[in-house]
């Protein structure tokens, strides 16, 4: 039985500009997966942004040195396609009976299409939202899974006025995304507006029941002598039958020197 828990996917990623890849996501994750660093594919920084990956591969100068940022084409001039990128990786996973697998993205800027073993799923717009896809039914029988993610920039990347200014032409404010990326008095514009898989990617294996977003709240009485911990959690039964389960909560405190009391 595969061990339950989370595995972060933060290595072995490749990236390529979408306009230089003439394959579909289905082909990339079935018959024509990239085999390595053959052009236009390059080593990708995930989590990270398109520009982070381009800087890592020295495909552009480091924007934080001198006036190098001026040498990087801005998305307003290049168009959104220029910074629309494919990200590709593989992962090994073989489930046992009654186990489920979620593919989790903790932050995508700004929207994306996910292809896993030839199956397409959509990650809707919004930079500050998590995405969790139940991919149990589309895993590869032999355990070797191919994952491709096509990431699109914000809808309104805006144009930087010649005089710069706080937030450029403010177009980025039409989206739900970080606003400094059009430049501020302390910061030059970020050329790709931070497009990318900017936060953690993980896969999590569970049994039939999944714990979702517990909420911990404490209440205090009698001058903090009498304290209560209130815990609420969501639970999802992913199986096709009623399940009987035991839900356990345990609180331990670490005393000095690593001694624990339960």
């Amino acid at each position: 039985m595969a061990e339950i828990g989370k595995t972060v996917l933060d290595s072995g990623w490749l990236a390529a500009r979408s306009t230089e890849v003439h394959l579909s996501g289905t082909q990339l994750t079935t018959t024509h997966s990239p085999s390595g660093l053959d052009k236009p594919w390059m080593e990708a920084a995930v989590p990270g942004t398109v520009l982070g990956t381009l800087v890592k591969n020295k495909a552009v100068p480091d924007p934080f040195y001198g006036l190098e940022n001026e040498a990087i084409i801005d998305i307003a001039d290049s168009g959104r396609e220029y910074y629309t990128f494919w990200f590709f990786t593989t992962f090994q996973c073989k489930l046992s009976a009654n186990q489920h697998l979620d593919l989790n993205f903790r932050g995508i800027n700004y929207s994306a299409e996910v292809y896993l073993n030839g199956n397409k799923k959509i990650l809707p717009k919004g930079m500050f939202r998590r995405h969790s896809l139940d991919v149990t039914d589309i895993l590869h029988p032999d355990g070797q899974n191919l994952l491709a993610v096509l990431v699109h920039p914000p809808d309104h990347p805006g144009t930087i006025p010649p005089e710069g200014g706080q937030g450029g032409d403010h177009e980025i404010g039409k989206d739900v995304a970080t606003q400094y990326v059009e430049g501020w008095d302390w910061m030059a514009p970020i050329r790709d507006r931070n497009t990318g898989i900017w936060d953690e990617v993980s896969i999590s294996i569970t049994g039939p029941v999944k714990i979702i977003d517990p909420h911990l709240v404490s209440t205090f009485f009698d001058g903090y002598k009498r304290v209560y911990l209130h815990t609420t959690t969501e639970l999802e039964n992913k199986s096709s039958s009623v399940v009987e389960c035991d839900l356990n909560i345990q609180v331990t405190s670490e005393l000095e020197g690593g001694v624990c009391i339960v």
């Binding site: 982070g52 936060d199 389960c245 405190s253």
Partner: protein
């Protein structure tokens, strides 16, 4: 006494919400901001075992017992903070983000946040034009005792007070803004360092967003019941 098991059955394909009976602690070690005491953290683990299958999922989090209150002082118009009933003089720093290209790392967060603690700060304000900071940021604020003032994604310059005046009604999709705000609150709400949610920087969000944020960030009705026992609001975190 800090171990509890609840038995429940969940219909197929359903998503349910379950609240444990409250756990009682006598004089627990409290979490204090930098300079006021220790940042005592407890390890909370939740597991679910399914009959005929075994352990199905588990979740854990470092949790600190603390009560944070803040209100506008009528005399000065400034916001006063109290932690565990003790007034605290806020020494805060502005925070935009760790790296302009979002090359975020635990190591960098730990270094940056410990630096703030070493500078004798006790609060970090996350500016609305940056990020809703990440769990790793909050983890080190929990450890080093930095309270966090977290703004949502509205700034005066871009939303209605800049030059040129633009987006007076904020982002185009208010439902998307609220969806992102709700998910962000769920991601960060269990961190003891989280002290204050703020609508935006130098600007009040559009009325529908601002009212929804204020309404949904109120104390959960579950705790209203405690009011009926004559407990004042002072006694709720």
């Amino acid at each position: 006494e800090h171990l509890q098991t609840q038995h429940l059955s969940i219909p197929s394909g359903k998503r349910v919400q379950h609240t444990f009976p409250q756990l009682f602690f006598y004089k627990p070690n409290l979490w204090w901001p930098n300079g006021m005491g220790k940042q005592a953290l407890y390890h909370v683990t939740i597991t679910v075992d399914v009959k005929g299958h075994g352990e199905s999922d588990s979740w854990s989090h470092m949790y600190g017992f603390r009560k944070i209150e803040s209100y506008i002082d009528s005399a000065t118009g400034g916001r006063l903070f109290k932690v565990n009933g003790q007034p605290i003089f806020i020494r805060g720093g502005n925070w935009i983000l760790s790296d302009g290209l979002l090359r975020l790392s635990k190591k960098r967060y730990k270094t940056d946040i410990k630096f703030h603690a070493d500078m004798n700060f006790n609060m970090i304000r996350c500016w609305g034009g940056g990020l809703a900071e990440r769990p790793e940021f909050y983890h080190y604020c929990d450890i080093y005792g930095l309270l966090v003032w977290q703004e949502f994604w509205i700034t005066g310059d871009v939303d209605g007070r800049g030059v040129p005046v633009s987006n007076p009604n904020g982002p185009l999709d208010h439902d998307l803004f609220m969806l992102c705000a709700r998910d962000t609150v769920k991601l960060l709400r269990n961190h003891p360092s989280l002290a204050l949610w703020v609508g935006g920087n130098e600007q009040v969000p559009p009325p529908d967003i601002n009212n929804a944020l204020k309404d949904e960030l109120k104390l959960h009705p579950h705790f209203e019941s405690l009011h009926n026992t004559g407990k004042t609001v002072q006694e709720l975190s």
